[in-house]
């Protein structure tokens, strides 16, 4: 259970400190998330039955997760019957080894890629590079990230941390075909990317993709996208290798009627995304004639085994939770130390990777529990609930454990609480010098305890009356 590119990430608070101090980054994030928030709200408000769609989406995913082994076997049977080949990977290393072997078998040394969270998670590009295979990211934002030797910071818009001027500078420096008079108009930048990738699409023999959904009872796989780079990769090469988390399943094609409404409106705030491609195995005379589906566990079965944490596997990667999260908007995506940033990342990463590393132990605490994420989640993942659940599992410092134990002891008895209050009241003159953490006092005044607690006042004025 590894995400190789993120080994040794610092804990969230430390990584976030630098981001909070970066005013340009905060400006980019505030602008982008502010824009999409309002648009999502409008797209959702257009449907009177959003609450019912959301409940159905949750129910379908919960049902699928409850019978996941059954549906995975069914999917395998149907994909195979339709001319595809199914592979199973316990972890990132196994998935990368399978893909590397499949690419090598074609004799190719280059692949084109459609944006895929699963292969970000496994660090596939790095693994392919070690095997002498170059992976070309074709999604515009992924291309921006790849050209900049950068890391994605958002699920939908991986280069959200960069503004147009930064992207123009990057294209001028790293994209040989970029024109000298390239402006920072997003349309001009998109045109430059189109020209850069066109030849690659037309000559590519092997593509690697992720999947948004797979239909168990037909063996159909779907990719939802906007730019057409997905269609290029899914249509033009001879060989298609799709890496998909085992939780992406839907039982039947009918379920798409729910998810093709929930996903675009939550994600890009559109009634429908520009392009959705669906394919079932191979179709003679149309598209890749070799199709491989790699089913990836990488910590998902462990997440599945936790009755509270399992709901994180309902996620359809829309990123609505990132766009409304006040913590994400200030800390940015990189602080989460994972391809899955924001609220969903804070509950997904520590579950699929285990809660052992410094960054993973800190992620469940990277939230004020404001609940904005749960409110917008199209499959009703109660992210605050899972955060609280994971906090209980996170390793604790002995000093904190002792303090919380003492507080619990004092609060568990009215008499002990009254005694503690009396002590605080008598010491109030010294309260300003009390050992309140600097983290609080740096920017905020500390309340001075009153001379008399409420219960003391009540006893003095009311009791016996």
């Amino acid at each position: 259970m590894t995400m190789p590119t993120y080994v040794g990430m610092p804990a969230f608070p430390k990584a976030a400190r630098a981001a909070v101090a970066d005013t340009r980054l905060r400006g980019n994030l505030a602008h982008a998330t502010g824009t999409i928030r309002a648009r999502r709200a409008a797209a959702v408000a257009e449907l009177d039955d959003w609450a019912e769609l959301r409940a159905a989406g949750k129910a379908i995913k919960d049902h699928t997760l409850a019978h996941l082994a059954h549906y995975l076997e069914l999917l395998e049977e149907r994909v195979t019957a339709a001319g595809g080949t199914v592979h199973w990977a316990r972890d990132a290393a196994e998935a990368n080894a399978i893909v590397t072997r499949l690419v090598r078998a074609t004799g190719e040394t280059e692949v084109v890629k459609v944006k895929s969270m699963a292969t970000q998670e496994t660090g596939l590009n790095e693994a392919l590079a070690e095997a002498g295979i170059t992976a070309h990211e074709t999604d515009l934002a992924e291309l921006i990230v790849q050209l900049g030797d950068d890391r994605p910071s958002h699920i939908l818009v991986p280069a959200i941390h960069k503004n147009r001027a930064e992207i123009r500078a990057l294209f001028r420096a790293r994209m040989p075909s970029a024109p000298d008079d390239l402006t920072d108009d997003p349309a001009a930048l998109a045109e430059a990317a189109r020209r850069h990738l066109r030849a690659k699409f037309l000559s590519a023999k092997v593509a690697v993709s992720g999947a948004n959904f797979a239909i168990a009872d037909t063996g159909t796989v779907l990719v939802v996208e906007s730019e057409g780079n997905g269609r290029m990769c899914l249509t033009l090469p001879d060989t298609l290798i799709t890496v998909m988390g085992i939780e992406k399943l839907l039982p039947t094609a009918r379920d798409l009627e729910v998810f093709l409404q929930l996903l675009p409106r939550s994600s890009t705030a559109e009634r429908m995304n520009p392009y959705t491609s669906a394919w079932t195995g191979v179709t003679p005379g149309d598209g890749p004639q070799a199709f491989h589906l790699v089913l990836l566990d990488n910590g998902r079965t462990a997440t599945h085994a936790d009755p509270v944490g399992r709901q994180a596997l309902r996620c359809i990667r829309c990123s609505a939770c990132l766009n409304v999260c006040p913590v994400y908007a200030r800390a940015g995506g990189h602080a989460y130390g994972s391809p899955y940033p924001g609220p969903i990342g804070a509950i997904l990463s520590p579950q699929i990777r285990g809660i052992g590393s410094e960054v993973d132990a800190s992620l469940p605490f990277a939230s004020s529990l404001c609940g904005a994420c749960y409110e917008v989640c199209p499959v009703a993942i109660d992210i605050p609930e899972v955060l609280v659940h994971l906090r209980a599992r996170a390793p604790k410092r002995p000093a904190e454990r002792a303090a919380m134990g003492a507080a619990g002891w004092a609060l568990n008895s009215a008499a002990r609480l009254a005694a503690a209050q009396a002590l605080a009241g008598r010491g109030r003159r010294f309260a300003r010098h009390a050992r309140v953490p600097r983290a609080w006092t740096d920017t905020r005044d500390v309340p001075v305890p009153p001379a008399e607690s409420f219960r003391a006042w009540w006893r003095r004025t009311r009791d016996g009356s």
């Binding site: 608070p13 976030a16 400190r17 909070v20 101090a21 905060r26 509270v308 006040p326 913590v327 200030r330 800390a331 469940p364 605490f365 990277a366 939230s367 004020s368 529990l369 404001c370 609940g371 904005a372 749960y374 409110e375 609280v388 906090r391 209980a392 599992r393 996170a394 604790k396 904190e400 919380m404 134990g405 507080a407 619990g408 609060l411 568990n412 008895s413 009215a414 609480l417 503690a420 209050q421 605080a424 953490p437 983290a439 609080w440 740096d442 920017t443 905020r444 005044d445 500390v446 309340p447 305890p449 009153p450 008399e452 607690s453 409420f454 219960r455 006042w457 009540w458 006893r459 009311r462």
Partner: protein
């Protein structure tokens, strides 16, 4: 009506005036207020910091203290939400089936102050007077867990002399989040700074909320900046008659 006050540990210890205001307000409206003396804390801090074992003991203490009461009022959206949304769930997950049943039976009788006034007592004009310009911050748990909606605003609109101004981006979290403010101090402070800027942009003299913990956080920053804006709990404004 006899109403039991769950003052909450934070109000009890740091903000007794809020508790006194609730008593004054409800008595002015002709109700009797009781203060079950065994009460302490709802357990939210322990739960949210990762100590559900400690929290469930407090669920038991709370349930024991209040289960004989017909109506309980808490001048804190966050604590009321903890009781209503979490107590039974937490007890059940801790294997305490009987406690879960008791907590579930009690939960519907526990109300945040504006819920008690508007939904249970059916009053929006509580006869208060507060001639000041006021901005209202809805606080996350009041807004999203309790779904108070415009109940606090309906109460504030009926207060004599009160000039209620819109707070920009009101639904944004202030960044308190209990121990979040300490564990993620930089992000918390950045969120608070934006909330403070929004408050100052309204020209309000007073920032009102239904939760003193959020007000302590925002008020601490308003005070440090010598902004001249003070904070007041909803109960204190509704109790005010001068």
């Amino acid at each position: 009506m006899k109403i039991a006050l769950f003052v909450t540990c934070v109000n009890d210890t740091l903000f007794p005036d809020t508790g006194k205001a609730v008593v004054a307000l409800l008595e002015r409206l002709g109700h009797r207020v009781a203060f079950p003396p065994a009460q302490t804390c709802c357990g939210q801090m322990h739960l949210n910091t990762g100590y559900p074992g400690e929290a469930v003991k407090l669920v038991e203490a709370f349930t024991g203290a209040f289960e004989d009461c017909d109506a309980v009022v808490a001048p804190s959206g966050s604590c009321a939400a903890m009781v209503r949304e979490w107590h039974a769930r937490l007890a059940a997950r801790s294997g305490r089936e009987r406690l879960a049943e008791r907590a579930a039976a009690l939960a519907p009788r526990v109300h945040e102050l504006s819920e008690l006034l508007v939904d249970v007592l059916g009053v929006t004009d509580v006869g208060a007077s507060f001639p000041h310009r006021v901005a209202y911050h809805p606080t996350c748990h009041s807004l999203r867990m309790l779904k108070l909606g415009d109940k606090p605003l309906r109460l504030l609109r009926e207060v004599r002399g009160l000039d209620l101004v819109d707070l920009p981006d009101a639904a944004e979290c202030c960044g308190f989040g209990g121990t979040f403010a300490l564990k993620n101090a930089d992000v918390s402070a950045a969120m608070c700074a934006d909330k403070v800027a929004a408050v100052k942009s309204t020209g309000a003299e007073v920032l009102c909320a239904a939760d003193n913990s959020c007000l302590m956080h925002i008020g601490g920053a308003l005070g440090r900046q010598r902004s001249g804006v003070r904070v007041a709990h909803l109960a204190e404004i509704l109790a005010s008659t001068s």
